[in-house]
């Protein structure tokens, strides 16, 4: 569904991604793992259109999307779910969600999507008229996932859905992501929380220094020492030192 080939991108003159390639098949949850500063977020921004790729290709649902404006990419059905802290604090929960349906002009469809989101996150229905600035971290993450689902996308990309959340809350959110995938969604998930992410994902990529370093089915990666090592940002030398 999404295929990234030899993606090179960065900010200003600083190159961050040095030719990353990855693939997400329809109906799958794919995890992109890596520590801080490895290029995860840059990759996400390049795919969602916030930054323009320098070279390489991004294909979504059979069409090239690299270089398109972010709102066009949303219209094509590929939505980046932002981190929970990026909910609009001065808007109510429902306004935040409705904004996600900006590309949906049909009121009936919007109402349907809203009910769908409330069925995934019943607590948001209770709090729908509250300003999202008053919500907890977990609820904010739900608002952002919900906002991403409001345009009825074919695929969502999650930017560290576990960031700064308590383990129990992360578990709840991951369960819901699993449920959303069972209903037919395709998911690319960026995570630092390797263990949790690999429990949920079907397939995983580990990114390091702007290239894909290791990849494989999740159940294999979870037992791979190198994965934990890469995630911690260690080198072979200090691993040997530890031994």
């Amino acid at each position: 569904m999404l295929e990234i080939r030899d993606l090179v991108a960065g900010y200003g003159t600083v190159q961050i991604l040095n030719g990353a390639s990855l693939k997400v098949d329809r109906g799958r949850i794919v995890a992109l793992l890596g520590g801080n500063g490895t290029g995860k977020s840059t990759l996400l921004k390049a795919v969602s259109g916030l930054i323009r790729p320098w070279s390489g290709s991004i294909t979504f649902d059979g069409a090239r999307i690299d270089g398109l404006r972010p709102d066009r990419i949303v219209r094509l059905g590929l939505v980046q779910v932002t981190q929970g802290k990026e909910a609009f604090p001065a808007m109510t929960v429902e306004e935040n969600l409705k904004l996600g349906a900006y590309v949906v002009r049909d009121r009936a469809a919007m109402a349907r999507n809203l009910e769908q989101v409330y069925s995934y996150f019943p607590v948001l229905k209770e709090k729908r008229n509250q300003l999202s600035g008053t919500l907890s971290g977990g609820q904010l993450q739900m608002v952002c996932i919900g906002r991403g689902l409001m345009s009825n996308p074919k695929m969502i990309m999650l930017d560290e859905p576990s960031a700064a959340l308590a383990p129990q809350v992360v578990l709840d959110i991951f369960r819901t992501i699993h449920r959303i995938t069972r209903d037919g969604m395709t998911v690319l998930m960026i995570e630092q929380n390797v263990r949790m992410a690999l429990l949920l994902a079907d397939y995983g990529y580990v990114i390091k220094d702007g290239v894909i370093h290791i990849e494989g089915p999740a159940e294999k990666l979870i037992h791979d020492d190198n994965v934990r090592l890469s995630y911690l940002g260690g080198t072979v030398a200090n691993r040997e030192a530890q031994l």
């Binding site: 916030l50 409705k98 904004l99």
Partner: protein, 296 residues
């Protein structure tokens, strides 16, 4: 007491004009992160366009008002697209364009003044609208032009409030004001929305110009004084806050009117700044200073 109330009523109606200009400045500031120093000239151009429509095309006042607002709004969109947006191409968008944008605003102000000078000349032109008899409020005879200011300004403010609060367009505008990237990721056409915000800001300025025209003369340099007072109003209310712009505008208007009435009319322009200094000393963020932008 009656004299005091008279002064307050006059102050409120003039304050509405400051409030409209301040509202445009605040709207543009919260949406585009630029302090638009050419906004006084937008107000002036709006007044001239209104005058042309009224005199040359002999349109009635209401269609004149609506058409002048629309045309000036479109002119604003054109200015933003052709000039200001180029400055954002270097990267980072409006948020980081900063100082260059301020200089560009000053430049635009000079350009618009001179364009208006070439077209309409330096002489103040009358904008005679036959509004009819003044309204009697107690022993105050309030000219109809002041009543029009209040009615039209309140209608525009309510309209803006409804658009921002109740429509998807307003939701998108608020999203763009808060965070352009997140608005983009929600599917909002951010470049288009920036044009819309700038256009609405300019339209509000034009409305103020057409409303003040029948009271003062229309002239090339009319924007400067109003710009400074509208800035004072915006800062007094809390820069970037829309209700703050309205409250600030009304306060500046009333304060000015009271000062002129009780102290001296000669120093009319000083009172706005006394208010500004006092507010900055007591509450530097302004009366309604808020963190959330474009709070309607």
């Amino acid at each position: 007491m009656g004299y005091f109330i008279d002064l307050v009523i006059v102050g409120l109606s003039v304050g509405m004009v400051y409030a409209l200009v301040a509202l445009g400045i605040s709207l543009i500031y919260s949406g585009l992160d630029i302090v638009h120093f050419a906004h006084g000239e937008i107000y002036m151009i709006g007044a001239f366009i209104g005058l042309v429509l009224f005199e040359k095309l002999a349109l009635p006042y209401v269609p004149t008002l609506l058409l002048a607002i629309t045309l000036t709004g479109l002119l604003g969109v054109l200015i933003e697209r052709l000039f200001y947006r180029r400055l954002t191409r270097a990267g980072g968008g409006y948020t980081v364009a900063g100082m260059g944008m301020i200089i560009a605003g000053f430049g635009m102000s000079i350009v618009l003044q001179n364009v208006a000078f070439l077209i309409w000349g330096a002489k103040p032109l009358p904008f005679p609208v036959p509004f009819g008899m003044p309204v009697e409020i107690g022993n105050l005879a309030l000219p109809m032009s002041y009543v029009w200011i209040v009615v039209v300004a309140v209608a525009l403010m309510l309209g803006l409030h409804v658009v921002l609060r109740k429509t998807m367009l307003g939701l998108a505008m608020r999203a763009v004001a808060h965070n352009k990237d997140i608005a983009f990721l929600s599917g909002v056409n951010v470049p288009l929305m920036i044009s819309v915000i700038f256009g609405i800001g300019c339209a509000l300025g034009a409305a103020a110009g057409v409303l003040i025209g029948p009271i003062n003369y229309v002239q090339v340099l009319m924007g400067i004084g109003v710009l400074i007072k509208a800035f004072a109003a915006a800062v007094v209310g809390g820069f970037g806050s829309l209700p703050g712009a309205i409250v600030g505008g009304l306060l500046v208007g009333v304060f000015e009117s009271l000062g002129a009435g009780y102290v001296s009319g000669t120093y009319k322009d000083v009172y706005a700044f006394i208010l500004l200094v006092v507010v900055l000393m007591v509450k530097p963020s302004g009366i309604l200073g808020v963190e959330a932008k474009m709070k309607a």
